[in-house]
């Protein structure tokens, strides 16, 4: 694919990026196109308002948090590499690779997706979801049909259920234990990139 190669050559350190994230060249090209489409002013960096332009994302109750996840504090822009690194969490998983316990956890494993989600809950980075943080999330997700007291009791109940070490907050371990079996979209072949990318991407190791 000539166009793939030419696009790839535009991206610095693309080999390293592919190695680190596990994306194929086709993936990278696809993401690069998307990056450029979002980067209206062609600065090579994305700013929060570029993300904000995605209308559907703005409608998402946790849209802002997701956007924030792309930007490390201290940075107001995101370059292509960071963009890809974060999206790597959501690459459809490699079914074919046997689980090798000696290797570090692949970046797109279920656990790392959960960790990512956990971080979105946990705004203050103390490793725990406190009652207040939970309350905020609930408030944004439950729209306006629920009263404040109901929200608080839901939050209390949630913590009560999940909290095993009685510190009135949910740690990552406790979070993991929640049986999310029905969250099909976390499991292997249903990564979000599969939806957006051309069909070729559903078999990630086909060259």
């Amino acid at each position: 694919m000539g166009s793939t190669n030419s696009t790839l050559s535009k991206i610095p350190n693309v080999e390293e990026l592919m190695e680190e994230t596990g994306f194929t060249p086709a993936h990278i090209v696809r993401l690069y196109d998307r990056f450029e489409a979002l980067d209206k002013e062609k600065t090579g960096h994305l700013r929060p308002q570029d993300f904000g332009a995605i209308n559907r994302l703005a409608m998402n109750p946790i849209g802002d948090r997701i956007i924030g996840a792309f930007f490390s504090p201290g940075q107001e822009t995101v370059d292509f590499h960071s963009f890809v690194r974060i999206l790597a969490h959501f690459r459809p998983a490699d079914k074919k690779h046997p689980k090798d316990p000696s290797m570090p956890e692949p970046v797109n494993s279920r656990t790392s997706k959960l960790k990512f989600a956990f971080q979105l809950y946990d705004q203050d980075k103390d490793g725990k979801i406190s009652r207040a943080e939970l309350l905020q999330v609930l408030r944004s997700m439950l729209e306006m049909q629920v009263t404040e007291e109901q929200l608080e009791s839901i939050a209390d109940r949630t913590i009560q259920e999940a909290d095993l070490d009685n510190d009135d907050a949910i740690s990552f371990e406790e979070f993991r234990k929640v049986p999310l079996g029905r969250a099909r979209r976390l499991t292997y072949q249903h990564g979000p990139l599969q939806h957006s990318a051309p069909r070729i991407l559903s078999q990630p190791h086909r060259k």
Binding site: G52, R139, I154
Partner: protein, 782 residues
């Protein structure tokens, strides 16, 4: 006196009275209609006709049907002249009957939930037909093909086309086309061919039925009918994807049906079909479908263009839309193109532009008229089906009819399963078995098949009556049996798969959170693989087309002003409907919310505060709240009902979203600001931060939310604060891929306006509270 009776008794009494009135009316109607149909229309009555005679004297005896002798009689003070008003009277009577029936069904409480309305209407038609026959009169041939195709069908199709949810339609267009074209072809040939084979079997006395008429019959009966599908599906509340699949298929198969019908009809006379004819048939199909769409699109553009100039004559705006659409239909029918596709194309094309041009009231008018006409049409069609069943000459042949019914079902199932197998290779969201079942079982036949059969020439097709009988039987079978059982079957299947084992609350919340997260990531990655051409299409649309078709500078102007007013209006309505927003959160019932079709019952407000022990009841309550309230991200999960005037769901979702954000703001003002609002630390004061629409206080200003300047060089992303309407980006909205009321940039100049209007609020925003101040600077991602 009425209020003395206890309530239940009173409502029962009311209902009883109304039903009685209707029954009497029904009886009266039947007799009148029966009497009126007696073939005596041409005779002109002398008694009331003095005035007519004066006019007719000028027409020098061209029709000398009236020989009048002017004899002096007593001046008739009161006379009955039925024939004078006969036709309009009959029409009105039918329409009234139809509407009263519809009313009646909803009065009987349990009936409408068990039996779909279409079945009841057919039964009513049967009753009326029966009554007319009993009265000794000849049943009027009401389901005349002309009447059907020219008057009854267009409103329904226009209604469907205008409110067609474009995005799901386009997303699934491949699947829909496969079902419509390939599926219908398969059905037609399978049924036709096998019927011919069966007819050739010795013992059935059917050997005179040749191949081509059989194929013709197959093509008539294989088409899924949009009217029937709409009527039944609206009651079973399946999700949008399936609805759009079956419905889209029923619309698009019109082209196939038209071509096949004309092809076989044409060649039944000749008796054989050559390969050349097949090629011609294929070409014809392309012309019919694409031509239909083209005609519709042209009229749609004309309508859009006309609406650009109607700002001074608001009153007739809706008229333009209706007339242009109808003319599109008629023009397409004139060339034997697919009228249905023309109507759909016209409605779909003109909608975004017309909606930008016409006034809010006209918009409402259009909506309501379309719904009204389509509803009446649908009702009439089903009643007429019933009447025609009683009327029509029938030639019952057990073999033929039963084989037809069985074959239709079998071929539909095979067709759907086979096609799904192929289609699933190309689809991302696969069709499950349950989906396949619904698609197969939901392939209902309806009045279009009957009308097409009715159109057949008696001489060319001696077995026409047998065909008609079989068609009617098939229609009855699908509408009654399939229509009535589809709902319980769907529920049964759903229950089987649902495994409604008690999910823990954690599970519910976290699953939903993850769903949102993944959806968000998907949206960031971009929705369509072919993102570019859609983007280009949108840009082309905005640059050129909108300039032409949208009045004045409206395509440029920040529609935000109009939009804000619309929203305020809507919010006011919601408040009023909810009985005055005393306490906003719980006082706004979700009946009003467009995102939820079924009204939700809010559990009674929680009395006690959080206790460590939760009673079982409370837990159930909480679960119920969660389950019903967690926002569903993907529309394919939402049940779809075309009778609830839902415009572009995305547009309404957007409006609702902002509405809710506004209320959140107000709520947060009321609730004692909790100490833990966390934000990723504040913005560089002079960097152009995200411009957000502050709709709370000042409608016309757009605020920049700047955190209290700490000079901390980080981005202000108000992640957790519910105060900010999350990232409503004015600049970015321009590139939105959606139609509907767009939020255009207000212009960069307004960005700088007072960000510190509410210093108290500001402090809350950026003040994370005493305990967390240290952690402001920690990186987001470890």
């Amino acid at each position: 006196l009425a209020h003395l009776l206890p309530n239940r008794c009173q409502s029962f009494l009311e209902r009883g009275l109304l039903l009685l009135v209707m029954l009497i009316f029904l009886e009266g109607t039947a007799l009148t209609l029966g009497a009126a149909s007696s073939p005596d229309i041409s005779a002109q009555d002398n008694t009331g006709g003095h005035e007519h005679l004066d006019d007719h004297q000028g027409i020098a005896g061209s029709n000398d049907r009236t020989n009048y002798t002017y004899t002096k009689k007593a001046f008739p003070v009161l006379s009955l002249d039925y024939h004078h008003i006969q036709v309009p009277f009959e029409i009105s009577l039918w329409v009234l009957l139809a509407s009263l029936m519809k009313l009646g069904f909803h009065l009987i409480p349990r009936l409408s939930s068990i039996v779909p309305e279409s079945c009841l209407l057919i039964v009513v038609g049967l009753l009326v037909g029966g009554l007319i026959k009993l009265a000794g009169e000849e049943v009027p041939p009401v389901l005349d093909s002309n009447l059907f195709f020219l008057c009854l069908l267009p409103p329904i199709i226009l209604d469907a086309g205008y409110f067609l949810p474009i995005r799901p339609f386009m997303e699934n267009i491949g699947t829909i086309l496969m079902f419509a074209v390939v599926g219908t072809l398969w059905n037609a040939f399978f049924v036709g061919g096998l019927l011919y084979a069966v007819c050739q079997i010795e013992g059935t006395y059917l050997s005179q039925v040749e191949l081509l008429p059989c194929l013709l019959f197959g093509s008539i009966i294989s088409a899924v009918d949009p009217v029937a599908v709409l009527a039944v599906f609206e009651e079973i509340h399946i999700n949008e994807l399936l609805h759009i699949l079956v419905f889209g298929e029923s619309l698009l198969n019109d082209a196939v049906t038209v071509v096949l019908y004309h092809l076989f009809e044409e060649y039944s006379g000749a008796g054989e079909v050559t390969p050349m004819d097949v090629v011609l048939g294929v070409i014809c199909f392309l012309i019919v479908s694409l031509g239909g769409i083209a005609v519709g699109a042209i009229y749609g553009i004309l309508a859009a263009f006309t609406s650009r100039f109607t700002s001074h004559t608001r009153v007739i705006e809706p008229l333009f839309m209706f007339v242009y659409s109808y003319m599109a239909y008629l023009s397409a029918e004139m060339f034997h193109l697919s009228g249905i596709m023309a109507l759909i194309a016209c409605g779909a094309v003109m909608r975004p532009y017309v909606e930008a041009n016409i006034s809010h009231k006209s918009h409402t008018t259009v909506k309501y008229f379309l719904k009204m006409w389509s509803s009446v049409s649908e009702t009439l069609i089903f009643i007429f089906l019933g009447v025609a069943t009683v009327a029509g000459p029938h030639a019952w042949n057990w073999t033929f009819v039963s084989v037809t019914v069985i074959l239709c079902l079998v071929s539909r199932v095979i067709g759907v399963v086979g096609l799904t197998f192929i289609i699933n290779k190309f689809r991302i969201v696969k069709l499950t078995t349950k989906d396949q079942f619904i698609v197969a079982y939901g392939g209902l036949r309806g009045a279009i098949a009957f009308s097409l059969g009715y159109l057949l020439d008696k001489d060319l097709f001696p077995m026409r009556t047998m065909f008609l009988t079989a068609i009617i039987t098939e229609i009855f079978f699908t509408v009654f049996v399939q229509g009535m059982t589809i709902k319980p079957l769907v529920d049964l299947l759903a229950v089987k798969k649902k495994q409604e084992a008690k999910r823990s609350i954690n599970e519910e919340i976290h699953t939903q959170f993850l769903d949102h997260l993944l959806t968000g990531i998907e949206d960031i990655c971009g929705h369509y693989g072919h993102h570019h051409w859609k983007d280009k299409l949108n840009r082309f649309n905005k640059k050129y087309i909108k300039k032409c078709l949208i009045a004045g500078e409206r395509y440029k102007e920040p529609q935000l002003i109009a939009f804000y007013h619309k929203m305020e209006f809507k919010q006011a309505i919601e408040l009023v409907e909810s009985g005055g927003g005393v306490k906003l959160p719980s006082a706004v019932p979700s009946q009003v919310s467009m995102q939820n079709i079924q009204p939700k019952k809010l559990p009674p407000p929680v009395a006690e505060r959080a206790l460590p022990q939760f009673t079982k009841g409370r837990e159930e309550e909480i679960r119920k709240i969660l389950r019903s309230n967690l926002q569903k991200t993907r529309q394919r999960l939402r049940s779809y009902n075309r009778h609830t005037l839902v415009a572009d769901p995305f547009e309404d979702g957007w409006n609702d979203f902002l509405l809710k954000k506004q209320r959140l703001i107000e709520l947060e003002k009321k609730v004692r600001p909790m100490s833990n609002y966390l934000t990723v630390p504040g913005a560089i004061p002079d960097s152009p931060t995200m411009c957000r629409a502050r709709l709370a206080s000042d409608p016309n200003a757009f605020y920049n939310i700047k955190a209290s300047s700490d000079g901390v060089p980080t981005i202000q992303v108000d992640l957790a604060s519910p105060q900010s309407p999350d990232s409503v980006n004015m600049e970015g909205a321009d590139r939105d891929e959606d139609q509907g009321l767009m939020m255009k940039p207000a212009g960069k100049g307004e960005k700088g306006e007072g960000g510190n209007k509410n210093p108290g609020l500001m402090r809350c925003l950026s003040d994370p509270g005493p305990s967390n101040e240290d952690e402001e600077d920690e990186p987001f991602l470890p």
